[in-house]
Symmetry: C2
Subunit: 104 residues, 2 copies
Amino acid sequence: MAMLLREALGEGLRRARTEQGRTLREVSTDARVSLGYLSEVERGQKEASSELLAAICDALDVEIADLLLDAGNAMRPIDSLASTTVVIPAPTADRRDATALAAA
Amino acid sequence: MAMLLREALGEGLRRARTEQGRTLREVSTDARVSLGYLSEVERGQKEASSELLAAICDALDVEIADLLLDAGNAMRPIDSLASTTVVIPAPTADRRDATALAAA
């Protein structure tokens, strides 16, 4: 089964929070949502309403546009990458590097 | 008030449907959702669950990643555009073209 939007959004929110070294409690307080709700949203178990998603992004100081971009990339099917992604090779990349990138 | 996610997603879904010249009835039948539900989702009045959003995108043959990208762009604050958007000018663009693009 393909990744669901709430799972991709939850992963992005959790990544943003942990990168900032903040706890669920801190962010849930700032966003005025319950700790349990935020935890379920991060694990992709609950749909965040648009209003609460905006509040959580605000508490994390994350642009929702960037969260959506990340979520979209996480959800993009592998077989569509060739036709939708522009790859700009590094000037110094040799063939072995390119192969490693393609397999990543 | 800033645009909400459900409003941005609804606009994108409606644009995809109308560009294909399809009716609410056709797409709702293909996505196995009610016509009223699809209409409310398109108008940003109802949150689509992740599962139903996936079904609607499938019925429209639209990648959810592309829908999210469009929604993110629609929601991005104007004052963040300068620092987050990479603009690649067309080789033949003159200054008048560039001004028209900037105003679009």
